[in-house]
Structure formats: C-alpha cells, structure tokens
C-alpha cells in the first residue's frame, strides 16, 4: 500500500465505512487523490467500487456508515449510461444546471468532444458513443476539480471504446481534473491511469503507480507486467501473455 504523501489532495477519504444490512461493503477505507491525478479503481463485482464512487459523489443517502470525506465542490460524474435527458436537445443537456448563460461554453465543450454542429440534435438521434461523448462534454463544461466516472465505457463496443480512451486521455491532459475511474477492464486501467487501486472486501488490496511513457502500448513488456500483477490481485492466476 503506497501511502500517499500528505500534501494537498483533491479527494481525501479516511476510514470510510459503508454497510448494507449485515454486509460491510467498505471497511475503513483510506484513499487520497492528488490534484490532476488519474486513479483507476479495479475490483471484482461486489468489492465496493461503485459504493466508494457514490460516496465520493455524495449520492449515498440513507446509507449506514461513517468516516471522513473531503471532496471539492466542483465534482462531475460520468455514469455508465450517458444519462442524457431525452427531452432536452444536446446543448441543453450539456449546460444543464449551470447558472447563467453557459451556451457558448457548452458549444466549445461539444466541439472539444468532436460533436460541434450537433447542438440541436435530440439525444436519441445520436449513437451510443456520441451520447457518451455528450456526457463527457457535460462533465467538461463544469470545469470540475474532480471527475468521477463509473464504468463510463462499459456499454460501448470495443472500437468506440478505444476512441473514447484517446479522447478521455486528451481531455484530462488539457483540463487536469483529478479522476477516479471505476472499471473492470484491467487494460483500460493500465492504459489511462497514473495509479491503479485494487479494492478487495472493502479495503485497498493493491495500490500501484503506473509510470509508463505517454503513448502506452499493450505490447510494452512493462504494460504486460502491470497487467499480470493486477490480474493476479483480482484473483486471475493465469497471466495470459500472447
């Protein structure tokens, strides 16, 4: 467990406990995310990934538990589904909830995700990948200090996912939010994150910094070794090396 240095962190979680009935999902969890740091959160289903993300997002009311959470006000959340309101046009979805006239900013955000010119489209007229890009624009336009993403690419096809990875990496490099990305895809985690955290039984089982050079290649032996180590931590013993 690589204890993070006690400097200013964007997100700070101390001794977080969450229980559902008899089951303790998060069991005294500590986590720090530095400003601009990209953390990927891995874990088997039921390990508490989503519970942690929802706690950080402030979406867990009526939940039993305790602990200390320090999260800035400017948090944006990307869900697994794009969650666009079908009765609002694309641009209105992007600027939803932003006070004042944010349409110009919304237009710029849409252009940044490659959807300039689709402002007046209805969400249902877009493909799944495009909808998810609108959702990213909706996060971006808020200039978040922290971006929380709950398997945002889980429902996309493999090709679209690759393009979304590139886009997300690009956007994060430009805007530098702290990111907490929940995923079950080990490759995705190693490819995108500065640090990968593996959750097991409500605690952090593994915390690995990924220091690979910028265009990360799956063929890189270092990439492979990170991948094998993470898979092992997730309980998959056979390191599949082609």
């Amino acid at each position: 467990m690589a204890a993070h240095a006690e400097r200013v962190s964007a997100v700070s979680v101390r001794g977080l406990v969450r229980r559902f009935g008899q089951r303790t999902v998060l069991d005294g969890l500590d986590l720090d995310i530095a400003p601009g740091e990209f953390v990927a959160l891995l874990g088997r289903s039921g390990s508490g990934k989503s519970t942690l993300l929802r706690a950080v997002a402030g979406l867990d009311y009526d939940v039993v538990g305790g602990g200390e959470l320090r999260v800035p006000r400017e948090v944006a959340v990307a869900f697994q589904d794009s969650r666009l309101l079908p009765w609002l046009r694309v641009l209105d979805n992007v600027v939803l909830g932003i006070p004042g006239d944010a349409r110009e900013r919304g237009r710029r955000a849409l252009a940044e995700v490659g959807l300039g010119g689709r402002e007046r489209a209805w969400p249902d007229q877009l493909s799944g990948g495009e909808q998810q890009r609108v959702a990213l624009a909706r996060c971006l336009v808020r200039e978040p200090a922290v971006l929380l993403a709950d398997e945002p690419f889980g429902a996309l096809d493999a090709l679209t996912r690759i393009r979304m990875h590139d886009l997300l990496r690009e956007l994060c490099a430009r805007h530098r939010p702290a990111v907490l990305l929940v995923t079950h895809d080990v490759d995705e985690a190693v490819e995108l994150a500065d640090r990968v955290v593996v959750l097991e039984e409500g605690r952090i089982a593994l915390d690995v910094p990924i220091t690979l050079p910028a265009p990360r290649s799956h063929r890189d032996p270092l990439f492979q070794s990170h991948r094998d180590r993470l898979l092992l931590a997730l309980g998959i013993t056979e390191g599949t090396t082609p």
């Binding site: 997002a57 309101l85 079908p86 939803l96 909706r138 808020r142």
Partner: protein, 282 residues
C-alpha cells in the same frame, strides 16, 4: 417418340424445379394496406343506408334517409337551432374540461412532488376512482340543482380524475437515474421540476388529456339527455319524443365531429410538444 426419352428427362428436370425459388415463405401477414382502405367500411355502410332508404326497405320512422338527414341538418343550421345547441354543449364540455384539467393536473403535481400531498390526495382520488362519476349525479343534483353549474361540475370531476391518474402515474414513473443526474449537476428544486419532472410527466399528461376529452363528451351526452332544456342532447331527446330520427342522426353526427376534432387537435399538439419522441416512434 419423346415418350421414350421421358424417364431420363424427368430426372433431369427435377433438380432445377426443386432448387429454383430458393426459399419462398408463405406470407402470413395481411400484406400491403389497400389505398383509402380505412374509408371503405364507413362508405359501404352509407351506401347500404342509401340503398335501403331508396328502395323503401328502411322505414323512415326508424331511420330517416341520408338526404333527409342532410336537409334537416341544413334547416337546423338555417333557423339557428343547431348553432345555439352546439354552442351550449361546447360551453358545458369546454368549461368542465378546463376546470377538471387544471384541478387534475394540480392535484397530480401536489401528490407527485411531496409526500404530504401524496398522503392526503392519492388515497382520496383512488377511492373516488372506484365510484363512477355518473354515480355522483343524484348527490350533485341535491347540492347544485340541475342548472349549468351541476353539469360543468360532473364533467370537471370526471376529467380531473382521469387526468390525475395518468399524470400522477407518469410523474411517479420518472426514471430514478434522471433524479440522480439532477442531484449530480446541482439542480435546484425549481429547476428540477421544470427540466425533469414536467417534461418527464408530459407523455402521461397527454394520455390523460385525450382520455379526459373523450370522457367529457361522454358525460355531456348523458347529462344532456337526463335533465336539460338546451344543448345537442336536449335536441335529440326532443326528437325522440316526436319520432324525428333525422334530428337524432344530425345530433349523432355533431357528437362524432366533436370527438373526432378534439382528438385530432390534441394529437397535433402532442406531436408538437413531444417532438423529441418522434425519433423513437420512427
């Protein structure tokens, strides 16, 4: 001569015949629609009616001939009877529909947006729902007499309940994920109602409107035939007493036009307002 060649020829013919139409499925669907097919049934009925009247097979005391009905309609319009009756009926139905619509929508919003409202309103309306609105007529006559107010109130109650049920169901059926999104992007309560609740409840609201408008015509017909001294129903009731089947048919045609026109208008408005849904229904 060719007979002798037949056996080999037959074997040679068989494979192509079996293979020719690769897979031809028996068509089970009804096929392409006939042009103006929907008008065919009603036109046939009118044609039969004309034929039966012309041949004298249809007793005009039971059902007047189509041309008699048209003549009577024109005469009733000329002497002002029909326009007056139509206006009276429209006022009753329109007023009842408006008041009921506003009340039903307001109640649905109150019940859908607050737990207190739900506790007070929803149960009450559900109990009312079990009692047919027409069953309230004796009590309402006792309270309000048989004037215009009574008619408007009966229609309004019926419309309000219909609109309440549909709007409330669609309000409470709004996807929880949208509520979560509204929290994440930090909508205020007012913004939440305006951007998520209203648009989300609109489809149900429109179903309620269309059922409500049909209901208001239904109540109107019943009310005007029990105790009224004016209106389309009264006109028809009088005609029944004097055995004027032509006037009765004119009244039916007017009711039909009312129902058809109001539904068409609502459908048009619905298409406009819910234009985001057109992409779903193709």
């Amino acid at each position: 001569m060719t007979q002798t060649l037949a056996p080999p020829a037959r074997t040679a013919v068989v494979p192509p015949r079996a293979a020719a139409p690769a897979v031809r499925r028996r068509r089970l669907g009804p096929g392409t629609p006939l042009p103006y097919g929907r008008a065919a049934g009603p036109l046939l009925v009118v044609a039969l009616w004309c034929a039966a009247s012309a041949t004298g097979w249809l007793d005009p005391r039971l059902l007047s001939a189509p041309w008699t009905v048209v003549d009577t309609g024109v005469a009733l319009v000329r002497d002002g009877t029909l326009p007056d009756s139509v206006l009276t009926s429209l006022r009753r139905a329109g007023l009842g529909f408006l008041i009921g619509g506003v009340a039903g929508t307001a109640l649905a919003l109150a019940a859908g947006l607050s737990r207190v409202g739900e506790a007070l309103i929803d149960g009450t309306v559900q109990v009312k729902r079990a009692i047919p609105s027409l069953g309230l007529i004796p009590l309402l006559i006792l309270w309000l007499g048989i004037g215009e107010g009574f008619k408007v109130v009966v229609i309004a109650i019926g419309v309000a309940v219909t609109l309440y049920l549909q709007t409330h169901a669609s309000l409470t059926g709004i996807d929880k994920r949208y509520v979560e999104l509204a929290e994440v992007v930090g909508l205020s309560r007012r913004q939440f109602v305006r951007k998520v609740v209203f648009p989300g409840a609109l489809p149900g609201f429109f179903v309620g409107l269309r059922l409500g408008v049909t209901g208001s015509w239904l109540f109107l017909i019943v009310l005007e035939q029990i105790n009224a001294t004016s209106g389309i129903g009264y006109l028809m009731f009088q005609a029944q007493n004097y055995g004027q089947s032509d006037v009765i048919v004119v009244g039916l045609v007017v009711y039909g036009l009312f129902g058809f026109a109001s539904d068409a208008v609502l459908r048009l408005v619905e298409r406009r307002v819910l234009s985001w849904r057109r992409t779903l229904s193709g």
